[in-house]
């Protein structure tokens, strides 16, 4: 399918991508609006960004969110990677079907159900709700996403290197850190980033599982949005979008560079042999 693009195809791509990006672009543009009326352009201004620095509540919420996201992404990456190893490597064991069901179900489960069920668990365990409960909740659903991402990396994995290491008497844990992990690392990093942004974005599950003193940024944004569109919210959203976009693009460039480097190394190795 490598014929030149037709007008129809180009039109549908342009229209499709405009639809995907225009709302975000408009949001960013209007965050620099001098007028308080969000839909009337009153000239360029960065005043709303300056105003953010004085908004302690918002800054607190942002700090809570970053801590939750960081902690839950790290734990979810460990658990998700272990789960992926189990799915791909552990063969059959009792309860395997249940296990893979529990990995895939949260991916399609409505957030309201996940949030409600976790809240009821924390209540039943008589936990005081706050930072820890939100963190545990985010870790749980994010680890399923990590498992899926890492699993796809593990499936296309050449096992001969691991087997060679084991034949040479390398203990399994050492084999994992010296051979398996470096090869699946791009998947693990992508999983961590996915877990981080999922936690950063989540409103519903956090609303159910949080307690006093642990209001996250999306909850704060949500409660303000309900009152109406304001330039401050546009500014917060712009910062979040810029933050995530930079991270994703930087990561994808880094992976691409690493990949081409490895291909070059492989070619050099084969060249030296022949």
């Amino acid at each position: 399918m490598t014929r030149g693009p037709t007008w129809f195809n180009i039109t549908s791509l342009v229209l499709g991508f405009s639809f995907l990006y225009l709302p975000i672009v408009l949001l960013v543009i209007y965050s620099f609006n001098a007028s308080r009326l969000v839909t009337v352009w009153g000239g360029f201004s960065t005043q709303w960004y300056v105003a953010l620095l004085d908004n302690d509540q918002l800054l607190d919420a942002a700090w809570v969110t970053l801590r939750v996201a960081f902690a839950s992404a790290c734990i979810a990456t460990v658990i998700g990677t272990l789960a992926a190893l189990v799915l791909v490597r552990s063969g059959r064991f009792p309860g395997r079907t249940l296990f893979s069901g529990m990995i895939f179900a949260p991916l399609v489960m409505p957030e309201v159900i996940l949030g409600l069920s976790l809240l009821l668990l924390f209540v039943a365990m008589e936990q005081t709700r706050g930072f820890w409960t939100v963190m545990l909740a985010h870790t749980t659903f994010a680890s399923c996403y990590v498992a899926v991402v890492v699993q796809s990396r593990l499936v296309g994995f050449d096992k001969s290197m691991e087997e060679a290491a084991e034949d040479l008497g390398c203990p399994p844990v050492k084999t994992f850190f010296l051979i398996t992990l470096p090869i699946i690392l791009p998947g693990v990093i992508a999983g961590w980033m996915l877990a981080f942004t999922l936690s950063l974005d989540d409103l519903v599950i956090a609303s159910f599982t949080t307690g006093p003193g642990a209001t996250t940024l999306p909850m704060k944004i949500y409660s303000q949005v309900r009152l109406g569109v304001t330039p401050e919210i546009n500014a917060v959203c712009t910062i979040l979008v810029a933050f995530v976009t930079t991270g994703v693009i930087a990561a994808s460039i880094a992976t691409k560079r690493q990949q081409s480097q490895r291909e070059k190394d492989e070619r050099a190795a084969f060249g030296a042999e022949g």
């Binding site: 490598t2 030149g4 693009p5 037709t6 195809n9 180009i10 549908s12 791509l13 499709g16 991508f17 639809f19 995907l20 709302p23 975000i24 408009l26 949001l27 209007y30 969000v38 839909t39 272990l82 789960a83 799915l87 490597r89 552990s90 064991f93 893979s100 529990m102 895939f104 179900a105 399609v108 489960m109 409505p110 957030e111 309201v112 159900i113 409600l116 069920s117 009821l120 668990l121 039943a124 909740a137 870790t139 680890s143 498992a147 399994p172 942004t197 974005d201 409103l203 519903v204 609303s207 159910f208 999306p218 944004i221 949005v225 569109v229 959203c237 979008v241 995530v244 976009t245 994703v248």
Partner: protein, 309 residues
């Protein structure tokens, strides 16, 4: 979805068991146990207490306490769900709204995926990146962005008034149309990605053969491309439909007061009415409704991976 590699019957070491145990226990405690608690509370009675339901479940009482609390369970909440029309109307309208939005997403997503699969090889990684990028951006922000566009004095109305297409602003925000737009916009990448994957794999020689035999392009599309991309269409539609049924943020922010969706009903029941048993019952029924498409989706995925493998 379930990749099994037949490793030789391994003598599992302690480490091997530990590897299985850690993620397994985590999910049992934080994913499965909560569902059982939801099921249990959906069979309890609402009470003015903390937590607001009876009987509470006390692990300290052991088995006797457990059986005693079982005997107090009742199906009253489920009966209540059938008696008040709010609930079945919410379920029905969620499924209808999700269904309509899925069809709209497909109509918009198919040309995009098709255009991507037909684009020069060099463009494809960039186009793919452009589809994935919004997926990383906050859902809440993307929904919020539409409020400023769809409002009565919003950007869309300003543009249309300026162009002279309309004389007075259209009321779009707080109607079901805004909800459709929100769902289509938020879930478009979920549909485009699997569809693109299946369109890209499509064997171009089949289309060339059709063309050589004098088949007009639209007919070749209808008879060759469309049937072959059907697995991608089905996978994409499920990925839009299933989460859309339980959606909360979109109907809450873009929909009006008469937009009924079950995710919103559950939220109101829980946070505003503080009726935990009824919201648990709502969650259980929602899950039962979603089990059907989820199982169908799993089967379809399994069939696909068998065919490819």
């Amino acid at each position: 979805m379930d990749q099994e590699q037949n490793t030789a019957p391994t003598r599992r070491t302690l480490g091997g068991w530990l590897l299985i145990a850690v993620p397994y226990l985590w999910l049992l405690i934080l994913f499965l146990a909560p569902f059982l608690i939801v099921l249990k509370i959906s069979l309890s009675e609402v009470a003015v207490a903390i937590p607001p339901y009876l009987p509470t479940f006390d692990l300290a009482e052991g088995w006797a306490g457990f059986t005693e609390s079982l005997s107090q369970l009742s199906f009253e909440n489920y009966i209540w769900l059938t008696e008040d029309d709010l609930y079945w109307k919410s379920y029905l309208s969620s499924v209808v709204i999700a269904g309509i939005s899925t069809i709209l997403t497909l109509l918009l997503g198919y040309p995009i995926a098709y255009g991507m699969a037909r684009s020069p090889q060099a463009w494809r990684p960039t186009l793919l990146m452009l589809v994935i990028l919004p997926f990383w951006t906050s859902f809440l922000i993307r929904v919020y962005a539409w409020i400023g566009i769809l409002k009565n004095e919003g950007l869309l109305n300003q543009l249309l008034l300026f162009l002279g297409v309309i004389d007075e602003p259209l009321v779009i925000l707080n109607t079901n149309i805004a909800v459709y737009i929100g769902i289509v916009y938020s879930y478009l990448p979920f549909l485009v990605l699997p569809l693109y994957a299946s369109l890209e794999r499509l064997d171009g020689s089949l289309l060339e053969a059709a063309e050589d035999l004098g088949c007009p392009p639209w007919k070749a599309f209808w008879n060759v491309t469309l049937p072959l991309s059907l697995p991608g269409v089905i996978a994409g539609c499920f990925l839009v439909f299933i989460p859309a049924v339980g959606e909360f943020v979109i109907p809450d922010l873009l929909g009006g007061s008469n937009t009924l969706m079950i995710g919103k009903t559950l939220w109101v029941e829980f946070f505003n009415n503080r009726d935990w048993p009824v919201s648990s019952a709502v969650a259980v029924i929602l899950l039962l409704i979603l089990v059907i498409p989820i199982v169908l989706f799993q089967n379809q995925q399994q069939k696909m991976s068998e065919k490819n493998g």
